[in-house]
Assembly symmetry: C2
Homo-oligomer: 512 residues x 2
């Protein structure tokens, strides 16, 4: 048994049975090992940003890490932006990077780079394997690190000779540390704050946004008059009919400040204290009201469901029915607008849908119209690195077979990682991509105004994607995905409904 | 004057008048400054790998650095693979990365990352600006660092508030250090080695491959019986009729070893000592013959033309006419093959063409058939990070207006950075992309055999790009570039000739 075989077997023993890959020469023995050891599903990406973004989406739906397979420092470099997003989402990933053989590295061949250095910024764990005999154990530690709450990226760098040399030893799965519970003092403090009945918001993040945790938070809020809110971006939210409806802190700084203005107390449940995405001259860096008190019920690595249940008990909060969100919307008619698209989504989202959302400006208002949609999950790009959406949708479809993934997608961001469409076609994944083709970096036009700049022709040119216009129908077909374009709500509803009836990927370009 | 305005003015004062950009919020003041200060050509890329690959190609042709404009750590991350390639090419680039405002960084907003850490692996110089008052001086130092021989990447990180704050000060251009000359001892040693008339090769790299240096090297070789050879990959080679024909060390390890087997002495002229791209079990790490002596005439930062002239004088080598490469080939007919494509290229390359070559396996034999082509320059991807070709072609066209760029391009590599086509369309660049669509990672099939692996179905699947086939004509049209497909030599010759007659980009998909 060589090192690569011990690695693959150890991954499978640790429950890692899906590998998103873009291999190169130094990974050939890992690839060859996949032939000899059954059980690993390998999903090829044409670009490493697809590989890691898919691993992010996969783990959010599957509840366990995928492995990646990347090629040397530059392959890792291409993967970093979506690893950054995955890090911000606290997604577990066993990130395997093949590299130069240990004895070849000193020769500084062209592809040699600072692989470890590049990995550190996104990884909670980095190790370079040193021998075939120990790479199995290295992998077991990496899986354990990845699965340790709240989830992190564990990078294992695999010099080619540690893969091809005989003497590999399979390692048993290491125990995943028990998830820490909230400190009793934190529960008591939160209860005391809530009993004061001052304006208070429970700010929910990570898995405080799953359905059971939301119900507990709702019970607490109903009993105490507190509000519930989520951060602006979230890894996964349970939404739709039968789920507790929660709004997010808006992205634009003034709206964010307005949303938080009334709250004297902010109780964090799995959420970080909120910050504004960017600084703007003479604007605050956080949306918190001046003098607001921030209390931590649970940090992201602590169990929010347990803490919320204890908090509800401490408060003697009675059971509270999930509010009815009103009737499910009907598909909109006429010209496309953000509101009309949201209404149509609310009408047509199928039960169990997974929305992979990188709609940026166009989708900022999609939430209210989808509260009454069929139950679904909503995933967002967490680190602000654009190009997360199509890969995340791809991985989510692998991680949640049988559920339809709807990728609500800005055009400028989609252009970063359009290669994800090819993987969707290859794997016949049930993904409907909806491109909001406004042919500009709309967000930057707003930001240009926000920073007080007064744009002229050169500046506007740099934010314009309309010369030439990207033709998303051609691009999708070039990647093997069927596609169509429309500029009406009726057209959108027809195309969306049609895509839901048939297996495999489809792309809808909305001319907006 | 704000910091951004002082930065733009300082760049122009330092001769940096072209900026490849993919800006975000934190760069909006830089973008706004471009409106108010005339003289900077801004070229937008849809993805940062396009931006930096284009900056690489630009500088190789223009002989001076471009600036880049990237957005925060993740934007830099997307740019790293082609910065790695540029570093290996010793290309000067003033790499500007906007980032969080100095006072906002401690809040760890979603896009915050280890920007400096990621920059280090590719940069000879890294500095984070600390105030608007000093950013002009920082830029002047960065330009000086980038232009210091042999050329390097100088990264200037620009926190948003150092751009938007008033009090910017323009800095004058700093002197570029005089290029060091070869040590007299090195010249004397090389002469002594050559006088022995033992089997010796002058191994040429960097600008020892421009036309005047090649002629001097040829004069030395003719006088001493030495051979001339180039490294496997080179930033820019002067080639074609009237230029001294030089072969490269082949990529496959066995062929590389065979090519160098006869040489007892290797004299490096601007070249690094050759190494094999990857280690393979039981194969050597360098192609050098056992016991071969390596002598350094010039390191890459030293002036090779001066050294070769002094060496020729020291040897009393008489002038030597450039050998006639024989008749220019005629276009091939019939089915496509690497030899036939090379022959057609040799026949049709226009005078002054720039070949941006990322043909990987398909183009390994293109050299011999193009020795007798019209005079042209040949650029290669230097760091082995795939996806360098289309951006390099894009930048070369910006840096060499009036010359036709032919991008000989492997399909798997092109899929990494196909967004470059959009920039070619937008800027109406004279680039003909020739895609060798074999629909597989052909190089890896060879490597799989090289490492001794015996591929089965899973392994072969991971190297197969044919399910579905990428349709490059659709992809190009989606990016705004006209395109056509052919599977015959006649079709290729017709399309290539047609593309040379008309301005702007064109893509030819060769079904091979």
């Amino acid at each position: 048994m060589n090192g690569a075989e011990s690695l693959v077997t150890t991954l499978l023993a640790g429950g890692v049975d899906t590998c998103f890959a873009n291999p190169g020469t130094s990974e050939m023995h890992f690839v060859a090992a996949l032939d000899r050891i059954p059980g690993m599903r390998c999903v090829l990406g044409l670009f490493e940003g697809v590989v890691t973004g898919a691993a992010d989406g996969y783990a959010r739906m599957a509840g366990k890490p995928a492995a990646t397979l990347l090629h040397c420092g530059p392959g890792l470099a291409n993967a970093l932006a979506n690893l950054h997003n995955a890090r911000r989402a606290a997604t577990p990933i066993v990130n395997i990077v093949g590299d130069q053989a240990t004895y070849h590295r000193p020769l500084d061949a062209p592809l040699t780079a600072d692989t470890e250095g590049w990995a550190r910024g996104v990884s909670g764990f980095v190790r370079t394997a040193t021998s075939a005999a120990t790479v199995g154990r290295d992998a077991a530690v990496a899986i354990q690190a990845a699965r340790t709450a709240p989830g992190q990226i564990a990078t294992l760098i695999l010099p080619a000779d540690t893969a091809w040399t005989e003497g590999g030893v399979v390692a048993e799965a290491l125990p995943v540390p028990t998830r820490p519970r909230a400190d009793p003092h934190a529960v008591a403090t939160a209860a005391a704050v809530l009993r004061r009945r001052e304006p208070t918001v429970l700010l929910l993040g990570t898995d405080a946004l799953d359905a059971p945790a939301l119900e507990l938070a709702h019970r607490v809020a109903t009993a105490t008059g507190a509000s519930l809110m989520a951060l602006g971006s979230n890894a996964r939210m349970a939404r739709g009919r039968g789920r507790v409806a929660v709004n997010r802190i808006p992205y634009p700084v003034d709206q964010a400040v307005a949303a938080m203005a009334g709250f004297r107390h902010v109780i964090l449940v799995g959420a970080r204290s909120p910050v504004i995405f960017f600084a703007y001259p003479n604007k605050p860096g956080t949306p918190l009201a001046p003098g607001a008190h921030v209390h931590v019920l649970t940090r992201p690595e602590q169990d929010p469901r347990d803490a919320l249940a204890r908090l509800a008990d401490e408060l003697g909060a009675p059971a509270a029915a999930v509010p009815d969100p009103g009737p499910r919307p009907t598909p909109a008619r006429g010209a496309l607008s953000p509101e009309a698209v949201a209404q149509t989504l609310g009408a047509l989202l199928p039960e169990g849908a997974v929305v992979a959302d990188e709609s940026v400006t166009y989708g900022r208002g999609f939430f209210p119209a989808t509260f009454a949609a069929a139950p679904h999950d909503w995933l967002q790009v967490m680190g602000g690195a654009i190009g997360g959406g199509p890969p995340m949708a791809t991985g989510a479809a692998v991680g949640a077979p049988g559920r339809r993934v709807i990728n609500t997608q800005a055009d400028g961001s989609a252009a970063y990682t359009l290669q994800a469409l090819w993987t969707q076609a290859r794997e016949r994944l049930d993904v409907t991509t909806v491109i909001f083709a406004n042919h500009k970096y709309q967000i930057l036009l707003g930001e240009l105004a926000n920073v007080g700049a007064n744009p002229g022709r050169t500046a506007l040119d740099m934010l314009d994607l309309g010369n030439p216009q990207l033709d998303w129908v051609s691009l999708a077909r070039g990647m093997g995905v069927e596609a169509a374009r429309t500029d009406t709500c009726e057209g959108f509803a027809d195309l969306l409904a049609a895509s839901l009836r048939r297996p495999g990927p489809f792309l809808i370009e909305l001319t907006v």
